[in-house]
Symmetry: C2
Subunit: 209 residues, 2 copies
DNA sequence: ATTATCTATAGATCTATAGATAATGC
DNA sequence: ATTATCTATAGATCTATAGATAATGC
């Protein structure tokens, strides 16, 4: 035991992820998680004590995925700055595409319970701090070379995140309004990725005057 | 009566708006709404029967505000297309700025209970249909005149919404990560508005080749 | 003899309503 | 005599736990 007892534990975690991502903490039901996982309700408290602790596990995991997706943006090897940005945008877009429920989940939970975020605040801010410094440094170099127009790193980062993340956040509304199922429409997302790269490339291009 | 009995009714509506926008349907408590409104809990059911009906009132109202904010984008009088877009972006940005909790609220509710949206689905889709047709028509004209580069209307609309809305949606996360209070930082939002206009203008500029 | 699982239920929380009392308009 | 408001509580729902039983490793 202690070794392979984790089949059910894993089932519960997987079920919890589905339930929390779709309904949020307040909307999620521990009974519903147990049902999805195919275990009795008591098992859930046996392995994870409380709903809160189960939630923390899922929340941490998602934060990790999202933070990593942003950090990877700048762990590119040496290429011209614009090419690196294009590549970064593409990679980041694909991560979000694979995990399209994560951004809304994270935002919703932070919005409705800001205190929950404070524990990982330090993690994110330290990461983000380094990221922005590196980014600004590279921007300045490329601008000096005349490859791009100067821009603030935080501004550029928010531009990129807005374009790459928002379409996935608005997806349910869009689907409700149009009746389309965007998961089936891979062309739509391919086109969106291209558009985002196009926009950022144009934003970075030095203005000819 | 029947005439000015609505002071408390209005108090309840105002309180419900605060509670629902902050916590979402699942997180909202009718007892909490009553407390905020300064009335006893039973009053809430006296005026609005159920939590659901009270929610519907608030939800409808917010949908209206948001849909209007997008429609207004194209009720501009005659100017060059790019100027109209710049003006539209600015107006839309200010509406969201005044109602910064609305987008996340709407998206969250639709995501966690898609069936709730179906009733107003028709409203939105008919509006959006007209908007996109008009928009595409104007785009084609301006492109033919050489004022802008050709672009799909839905693509352009999603670009604009992403840039204008996402920063307000990510606000709580950003504040949690940095410790800043962005409501106090009006310079930040002014700069963001300018940046969004800058991006879209560059996106629309014909590529010189 | 420790770990895993189930049944049954306690305890907390939240929505909703019944029924009594107060306020207002006619 | 209709509308508004309050007190008290029913009823539903959900999380959590106690305690019994089954399965596993030594």
């Amino acid at each position: 035991m202690t070794k392979h007892h984790n089949n059910k534990e894993q089932d519960i975690l997987a079920a919890a992820k589905v339930e929390f991502l779709e309904k949020g903490y307040d909307g999620a039901r521990t009974t519903s998680i147990a049902r999805i996982a195919g275990v009795t309700h008591a098992m859930l408290h046996y392995y994870f004590k409380t709903k809160d602790q189960l939630f923390e596990r899922i929340f941490h995991e998602t934060i990790g995925t999202l933070v990593k997706s942003i950090l990877d943006v700048f762990t590119q090897d040496e290429m011209p700055f614009k090419d690196r940005m294009a590549k970064a945008l593409e990679m980041h877009f694909e991560v979000i595409r694979e995990n399209h429920l994560l951004p809304l989940f994270m935002i919703r939970e932070v919005a409705s319970r800001p205190e929950r975020f404070s524990m990982i605040k330090n993690v994110i801010s330290s990461f983000a701090g380094n990221l922005l410094v590196t980014m600004q440094h590279d921007i300045d170099l490329a601008a000096k070379r005349g490859e791009i127009t100067p821009i603030d790193a935080p501004t550029l980062l928010l531009d990129m995140l807005s374009l790459n993340v928002f379409p996935f956040i608005i997806k349910p509304v869009f689907e409700a309004a149009t009746g389309l199922n965007l998961n089936a429409e891979s062309k739509f997302w391919d086109q969106r990725k291209k558009e985002n790269i196009e926009i950022i490339m144009r934003r970075l291009t030095p203005s000819q005057a």
